[in-house]
């Protein structure tokens, strides 16, 4: 294939060629960034929470009035829940992974530290919590029943024990195991007695919390509050039944309460990542539309060129050009334009990303995306040009001898 005639034809149709190149460049720039963001969100959404999500649900419990014996009432509820058929275990807490709101707390290596050594999510739990969550203890031990104490939101912390996630341990003690070490929470000494593999914080879709998304600490406290949550783990396959039965059971124990937000973990996960999912889907839809518009734009413009050059193509055919040669002509032409567009688009993609990094706290674009995007856009061009090029190739040579 000779580039000479193609280039000179393009020179005569500068604007058209430029428009296609520009369109491909912009498509590439937007596509790379959109796909990059989509992938980030998809990866984020796929992260495990550390909870046995398939079999676990939560509900929010609010007592009516200001009962005096909340601790005893919680214990009664828990005994009832744990005794239900199909229930593996249950516990009461202030917050749970992926909940969306919770209590964040700093852990220090010494009392009265200016800045905490590790930022964590704080969960009030008991000796049943690990089992109810399905969390894996990788070192140390669980709480014992006699370690569990009562604590209201406004109480002071007491010296004691706690369980942390592996991430917290590594943050506090990068050089060795955190197990058995004494750390300080609210300036009280606390011994780390157990380490769990992983448990996410309540905030999983939040730039502020992203830095400590796996830092969770478990305190052996019954949360004395008018409002708190129960986490219940059901036997496999019994989640729906247990979700219904648990509410009934709790009202049987005490009618003087409000139960809200009964959510399976599937629902909790959907709520937690709702906006990420929305962003990914919207960007995906726009990307698909973008590809379609660009492809059809190329089809439309190339068809127009083919129509314009029909006679010229007929002459070429008459002079001995094969169908393949005509096809190759348009494909090469599109490759040249797409190549220019891809180069320009790669620069634009990086530029757009740099701007978004600065203005919107996005992450840096992986250059692999830019390269893949460039290849994709060039393939798109080839694909789009195929139909008009085939039409061009089928131009009869006899056209040359006919008057226009």
């Amino acid at each position: 294939m000779h580039f000479g005639p193609i280039l000179s034809a393009m020179r005569r149709n500068k604007v058209g060629a430029f428009l296609i190149a520009l369109q491909m460049a912009l498509t590439l720039a937007i596509l790379c960034n959109a796909l990059f963001i989509i992938r980030q969100r998809v990866v984020m959404m796929a992260r495990p929470s550390g909870v046995d999500e398939a079999n676990t649900f939560s509900l929010s419990n609010q007592w009516v009035g200001s009962p005096e014996q909340i601790g005893a009432m919680i214990r009664g509820d828990l005994a009832a829940l744990r005794g239900m058929p199909g229930v593996v275990d249950a516990y009461a807490t202030n917050a749970y992974p992926l909940r969306g709101g919770g209590w964040s707390e700093g852990i220090g290596l010494a009392p009265n530290q200016k800045h905490s050594s590790a930022h964590t999510a704080r969960y009030f739990t008991d000796d049943h919590a690990l089992n109810a969550l399905g969390a894996h203890l990788i070192a140390g031990r669980n709480f014992t029943a006699d370690e569990i104490r009562e604590r209201s939101e406004r109480d002071k912390a007491q010296p004691g024990v706690m369980i942390v996630t592996k991430a917290v341990g590594e943050k506090l003690f990068p050089d060795g195991s955190a197990l058995g070490k004494t750390v300080y929470v609210e300036d009280q000494p606390i011994v780390i007695v157990g380490i769990v593999d992983m448990l996410k914080t309540p905030w999983v879709s939040n730039a502020w919390a992203e830095k400590f998304v796996e830092n969770s600490m478990l305190d052996p406290y019954i949360f004395i509050s008018k409002q708190y949550s129960y986490i219940v783990r059901a036997q496999p396959g019994q989640l729906d039944a247990v979700m219904q039965a648990a509410q009934k059971k709790l009202f049987e124990v005490n009618r003087n309460r409000v139960i809200e937000k009964v959510r399976s973990y599937a629902q909790i996960r959907a709520d937690a990542y709702r906006n990420d999912r929305a962003l990914a889907i919207i960007l995906g839809t726009v990307s698909a539309a973008l590809l379609a518009v660009t492809a059809f734009g190329i089809v439309g413009l190339t068809s127009f060129w083919v129509t314009q050059r029909r006679r010229q193509i007929g002459v070429r055919r008459a002079l001995g050009a094969t169908r393949r040669a005509i096809l190759a002509y348009f494909q090469t032409e599109n490759s040249i334009i797409a190549g220019v567009g891809a180069l320009l688009g790669m620069a634009l993609a990086v530029g757009l990303n740099l701007w978004m990094v600065q203005a919107l706290e996005m992450q840096r674009l992986d250059l692999l995306y830019v390269l893949c995007g460039a290849v994709a856009v060039m393939l798109l061009g080839q694909f789009a040009v195929l139909w008009p090029a085939l039409r061009a190739a089928s131009t009869p040579p006899a056209l040359a001898t006919r008057a226009s």
Partner: protein, 438 residues
């Protein structure tokens, strides 16, 4: 003549339905995507109280010290401590002022067979309603004296009044909240400021609280804090609610209405004076750092429009731009195939302006068609958004008359802009050429 051009445009568009469909689809898709994301962005970045947003201010006082400040040196807190809120109230330095926090109740229904249900509430000052132009359906706000006396009075939101009293005038009736009787003094009309300007930290968008009660009544009952509560810094928190009230934890929102620049200046001075006094008393070990933000500035500081929304707007407008580049190419092709017709028209006596107008009207008609397609796609897009977004944000995704007008106007404008170069090229067609070509 304009009607003639419209008529010509429609004929021309009918003649080449594929090309027309491509152009209309490109513009429609671009406009649809842009308007979908833009209408959400507009709703999020809207001013819920435009008549007063420059006169309502929220003060901040740095009570945690330099260690807890943001990287740019701004205060780390976005609310006040109870102590500071009460102190500012006692200054009486603003025309209207209110301290407030989010809390909630279990509501006992009048029908004893029904289960109690949850209602979120806002504990706030009597000035709150006048300050934020809150519309009342029945009754009035409580008085400052009620607030002072910790009276058991409430103002119900319209929905809760509908639920409890079937929408009737309930002023003077009592409601049972967490086993206490409260007297209804007022019922709100529909009120849904977006963002919820008075407390964007706790919940930026969505419904306002189901009911309102005096700040001091809630404090007296030691009602739980349902909103954010930040206890940073080297703070000593004594046990219990009273300990919390004395602590350096911030959990109280505060708003003041200041009508003139002098009042604002005066208030700033008072704020600094108060912080200096705290330093003098030994409570603060640092030079005063205070802030006073009006509504719009506060939204900026609080970043109420999520970056996701901005990304969507950027990407969809990029897409619109691609669609327009696409339309430029297609229009160019379309007008150039008509070069001979234009040549004939020129020969017969059309001047350049006539050709220009004819082509521009045609692009305008394409734009209009694209706008209508775009409008339909925007409606579809917003329905999709509603399905995808959380309920708070989903409520923002509606199309108002302005959106509709903006959509169509933007489409026509965009199409004409895209058509400008092809139109210019069309006017450059020489009348003589086409005579020779044949």
């Amino acid at each position: 003549m304009f009607r003639y051009y419209i008529w010509l445009a429609l004929r021309s568009l009918r003649r080449n339905p594929m090309l027309t469909a491509l152009m209309v689809a490109a513009i429609g898709l671009g406009i649809g995507a842009s308007m979908t994301t833009l209408s959400l962005f507009r709703a999020m970045s809207g001013d819920p109280i435009p008549q007063k947003s420059a006169q309502l201010f929220t003060p901040l006082i740095d009570n945690w010290g330099p260690d807890q400040r943001e990287k740019n040196g701004e205060p780390g807190q976005d609310m006040l401590t109870y102590t500071d809120a009460v102190a500012l109230m006692n200054l009486h330095a603003a025309r209207r002022q209110a301290a407030m926090y989010a809390t909630g109740f279990a509501v006992m229904p009048t029908d004893p067979t029904q289960n109690p249900f949850q209602a979120d509430a806002r504990a706030t000052g009597a000035d709150f309603f006048a300050m934020f132009d809150v519309p009342f359906k029945y009754g009035t706000p409580w008085s400052a004296a009620d607030d002072e006396a910790r009276a058991d009075v409430v103002v119900l939101g319209r929905k809760l009044n509908d639920k409890l009293f079937g929408g009737a005038n309930s002023v003077g009736k009592t409601v049972n909240l967490d086993n206490h009787d409260y007297r209804v003094v007022g019922v709100l009309d529909d009120w849904s400021p977006q963002p919820r300007m008075y407390d964007v930290m706790d919940q930026t968008f969505g419904e306002v609280e189901a009911l309102f009660l005096p700040f001091n009544t809630a404090i007296g009952r030691q009602m739980d804090i349902w909103g954010n509560n930040n206890c940073a810094g080297p703070t000593v928190v004594d046990p219990g609610f009273e300990g919390h009230m004395r602590s350096e934890c911030t959990w109280v929102q505060f708003w003041a209405e200041l009508n003139t620049a002098e009042q604002v200046q005066h208030y700033r001075t008072l704020l600094d004076g108060y912080a200096a006094e705290q330093q003098h008393n030994g409570r603060f070990h640092w030079a005063p750092l205070t802030r006073l933000y009006d509504v719009r500035k506060w939204f900026d500081v609080q970043h109420v429009v999520p970056d996701e929304s901005r990304v969507m707007v950027v990407v969809s407008f990029g897409f619109l731009f691609v669609c327009l580049v696409n339309a430029v190419g297609l229009m160019l092709a379309k007008f150039m195939t008509r070069a001979s017709e234009i040549g004939v028209r020129r020969a017969i006596g059309a001047n350049r302006r006539a050709v220009f107008t004819q082509c521009l009207v045609e692009t305008g008609v394409i734009g209009l068609a694209g706008g209508l397609v775009g409008l339909a796609l925007t409606a579809v897009g917003l329905a999709g958004m509603r399905a995808l977004l959380s309920k708070d944000m989903a409520d923002l995704t509606h199309l108002d008359l302005i959106d509709v007008l903006v959509t169509v106007a933007l489409a026509v404008l965009a199409a004409m802009l895209a058509g400008l170069y092809p139109t210019w090229r069309a006017t450059q067609v020489q009348p003589a050429w086409q005579l020779k070509a044949n």
